[in-house]
Symmetry: C2
Subunit: 213 residues, 2 copies
DNA sequence: ACCTGAACACCGTTCAAGT
DNA sequence: ACCTGAACACCGTTCAAGT
């Protein structure tokens, strides 16, 4: 019978509990009623702290990217760009089951510091503010697309390679061995290097004069 | 009282109806009961043709990319790569409200022809089969990431720019005018050019000898 | 101010029964 | 073989009532 036999409910407690439930059982298993039960309360009490279920889902998405551990800048913008992309990826992979929420919804205001860091890196690479916005969007689109593939891909599946060969499509059959598997880390790194190379080229062009083309 | 007063139910009719409902009212509004009503049948009848609701959602995702209008090859692989990316984007944008289904789930077997076309383009660019797989995954990740941003972004919002300035973050404030808006078509093209440039560079390297680096 | 009981209008899915 | 009625075990959310 301590004075705080039960923590008072709060928006933060509701959201934290919801994130935990999603991480444990997946988004589709989250219900307002189970969330309330988890918090030792009736479902209707939640509505004093969140607007509705969608509000809860938005809040979960925001928490994920509020967690991005921004790397300290170095002298090499390429190193910094890579570190920032890695940090973003790490934050998403820390909560894989929230991916469909955090990646599909528009990145909210808690993600603004990530944008600041990206624009800073790209400014140091030589982009003017407008080009830096475009470049950062390209980089982020690549990273998010890669994460979506990684998080959505199931466990290894031995039937994939023979199925690909059986399509009879020549290029697919020829590459079936490589298409059947996906080493996510290496795949991410391959494309990231590629995008960074391209950004480096544009940055040099931009430094040579405004609106190079 | 014509003999076919009512078309017989079939998996294809169920899926087509589901796609139409999603396109009209969104994924969250799709229920087995409403789907059945749309088909003039009781909800339980659907289970003679589909395994469950998830099966329906998977089937919708497959239909979207079965529709990709593969462009005929030309003499210029760069033109072809762009045309293929454009065709993929067009297919996704033709059913924007299914995006969370079609882009987040693993691309199914109906999308294999797209992979064949991509690998063919990249082979003609000079990539060996393994490198072509990596390159195609990079390209697709970029396109999908861009689509997710495009489809997830709401209508223009006048409050965004002042909110960005108000963060006090210097790069964000400086670029607020450009961050506040997003011309999706132009943004997509910017990054696509960038990725294609980078692929062109790798292709040359690969043509110079196996495993350049 | 915050919590709750009861209720409303829904869900997906199973199963035994119909034709 | 295909369709259905009734039922089960759930949903999100509202509202008036409690403390």
């Amino acid at each position: 019978m301590t004075p705080r036999r039960r923590e008072p409910l709060s928006r933060d407690r509701v959201v934290a509990s919801a994130l935990a439930l999603v991480e444990l059982h997946g988004v589709e298993a989250l219900s307002m009623r189970k969330l309330a039960a988890e918090l030792g309360v009736e479902a209707m009490s939640l509505y004093n702290h969140v607007a509705n279920k969608d509000d809860v889902l938005d809040a979960i998405a925001e928490v994920v990217f509020a967690d991005v551990a921004l790397p300290p800048p170095t002298a090499d913008w390429r190193v910094d760009a890579r570190a920032l992309a890695d940090a973003f990826r790490a934050a998403a992979l820390a909560h894989p089951r929230t991916a469909s929420l955090s990646l599909a919804r528009q990145l909210g205001y808690p993600a603004v510091p990530v944008t600041e860091a990206a624009l800073d890196v790209l400014a140091r690479a030589g982009f003017d503010p407008e080009q830096a916005v475009h470049a950062s969007r390209t980089l982020l689109a690549y990273v998010i697309g890669t994460l979506l593939r990684e998080i959505g891909s199931g466990p290894p599946d031995e039937t994939r390679e023979p199925a690909l060969v059986a399509t009879g499509l020549p290029r697919v059959a020829e590459a079936a061995r490589h298409l059947a598997v996906c080493h996510h880390e290496a795949e991410y790194r391959f494309g990231l290097d590629l995008v960074l190379d391209a950004l480096a080229l544009r940055a040099v062009g931009a430094a040579g004069g405004p609106s190079a083309r």
